[in-house]
Amino acid sequence: MADAAVTDTAPEAHDAHGHDGHGAHVTSTGLSNNKLAMWIFLGSECLLFGGLISTYMLYRGRHSENLGPDQVWDIPFTSASSFVLLMSSLTMVLAVTAAQRKDDRNTRLWLTVTALLGSLFVAGQVYEFTTFYREGLGFTTSLFSSSFYTLTGFHGVHVSVGVIMLLATVGMILKNRIPGDKAEVVELVGLYWHFVDIVWILIFTLVYLIPA
């Protein structure tokens, strides 16, 4: 604490150690509390998707004769929407680098594009679900359908929450209401977003590409 006050020139250094409870600036690891919390939270999310994916893998073959994965999947369509989601990771990276350059305008732009691509993916999922339902694959049709809708539905909810986070961030940048380090807040949203994308790669491969 004494060291920080003597050597650092940045004004933040003065409240380095625990004037408030947050220790926002100097931490034992050098990682901010918020970033560490996000990483830890994502660690626990792995187990959530682990449980859902295991349930799906257990039940993937258990369906009535005509409504198995081979009969309902439209691989080209889902590939396209997966591509949309993966591109959103690219625009997310652009948003983070813009935020690190303190370029508010481009940060907002790329965050909005990311949110749009995410919404497009969710819209694709809604379309896909509706089509499957029309073809007779309801939530309770078979063990396969229940576990499919549960797994992909949970992922869809995660993407939707991510879209809300992105748009909220855009709004807060617009109103200049982001507390602390703006680039870090954008980076945190980015961490979550990349996680959701990576999980989708897993789901897409296991659910759609590997034949049952």
Partner: protein, 665 residues
Amino acid sequence: MALIERPAPDTLTPAVATPESTYGAFRRPVHSTGWKSWLFTIDHKKLGIMYGVSALFFFLVGGLEALLIRAQLAGPEGTILSADKYNQMFTMHATTMVFLFVMPMAAAFANYFVPLQIGARDVAFPRINAFGFWCFIFGAIFINTSWLLGGAADGGWFMYAPNSSVPFSPTNGIDFWGLGLQITGIASLTGAINLIVTVINMRAPGMSLMKMPIFTWMILVTQFLLLFAIPVITVALFLLMFQRSFDATFFSVEAGADPLLWQHLFWIFGHPEVYILILPSFGIVSEVLPVFSKKPLFGYPLVVFSGAAIGFVGWGVWAHHMFASGLGPISVAVFSVSTMAIAIPTGVKIVNWTMTLWGGKLRFTTAMLFAIGLIVQFTVGGLSGVTHAVAPSDTQQTDTYYIVAHFHYVLFGGAILGIFAGLYYWWPKMFGKLLDEKWGKWNFWMMIVGMNLTFGPMHIIGLQGQPRRMYVWTEARAGSGFFDLGFWNLISSIGSFVLGIGVLLFFVNVFLSHRRHGPAPLDPWDARALEWLTTNPPKEHNFDRVPTVGHLDDFFHRKYEDRGEDGHHDFHQVATAEELMAVEEANADPDIHLPSPSYWPIVLAFGLPVMAYGVIYNFLLIPAGAVIVLLAMFGWSLEPHTATEADYDPPTPEGGAELEVADHG
């Protein structure tokens, strides 16, 4: 995102510099006394006390349920409870004890003492801390309202599906149970993230991980277990909800489902859960034994690493709960071996505690007695545990009272005795009063006698073959001689009432001690860890200045100087706690800003039971609850870091200058 705590804006700028109009409706409350100060508090110490008080309340509820069970089983063909009510009683007894007593009690100690032990002003996310507490309270109330709304859950705390699906349990009890546990699960998950970040990031300067107090270490391991275990039961509970409320067939064997899916998901959560319950108590006795032996903890690194080892191996043993379910010989063999392996780090701990006592200057205070009680009783439970790890003998014992005996020796003799050691040890720190030692010893011995009378005979009852979860037993199967079920069941039931009285003596002790005793001395036990380097109870800002840590057991080393040579220790007291405190006060940090209380955590948490009632009764309540949640998130993210000075009213005498500043604002 709104849930991520904002970093302090610039804490050196006086809060008054923020124009009041910016925040309008988003002012923060400022109550420092009265019931509102508890309702809106984000102080980790107040939240710790609130966790503790509610947990002890649920301890009494769970105890009452246990007494009803034992009253029913005291004689053959008991008539106190119907089969239905009996099922609800044992389900809720276990649910209450596991989720509403032992876990929140650990959260109470963790919340109160982890920041103090690592020399931090607060936890990393104070508002999320408060939010977690209210999730626990609302979840707990939600589960228990099922008693009044058509009957409580009746599937056992493990809630084996498909037994827990609608055809077998048509009332709403299990819906209440599942949704309520989801809400308390949020409490555990947010608490885990918060405490992990706090411990990893906010240790006082100089406190490396291997200088960290052992209780904090065990809490850290526990929080990692929670972090990874809670999502798994979340998945299981969602699947159960989809099955019960939306007609999915995840667990219906007639639809082709795998009957073991629930058991795997539940026990992948449930077995680490066992260590979630016991590790905090291991941490507590590892604090208590050295203090009352006047020796450092024997082999501190071994105790740390064995705790971490338990944390890892705990994930590889879940299927030992499923030996009787037909896993196949290879799985059974693998899990049998891994289960025996986990006895090793536990044994390491027992040896370390015993070696800590060895040659020490022992003081048999009540806290020390409870800690020694844990070593003895937990070892008994550990030994019967080894007989379950052996799959062939487990197949004989499973679903009998032998199992009930085993896990009560582990959980009552382990987790709960540890909690009582913590209560007696830390009471003066939390409330500034010592609990009475004479009443404490009555409390201890009644509980020890009671628990052995209650759970000891269950070994015999179980070996005679009395199944658990049956609401009556009959004379026809009662056995004779040493295995006379009538005799041992009666002894067990009498024992449970002795145990009940023993527990009540604690509350008598609290009541009498607070009426009769004066303030506790600053350092009543000659303690070793950092939480004692502050007043009893601590001030809102914990420490007058953030301590710089040089040693493991830093507080002890501030009081004692080692004048020994060549590795021989010869400690001489160089300072008293009062002298150390005077130095701290003289060098107090002049400029401490803590975040103000907040309305939003309780509002946000309140939205959740509204949504949960919606799932059970009327789907329209779900959007209503969601609106509450969203509004609260909005308020949460927009409220300022601290209340403006103008909000404080009336001004304190020394606050005069601040009031003047506020007038300009």
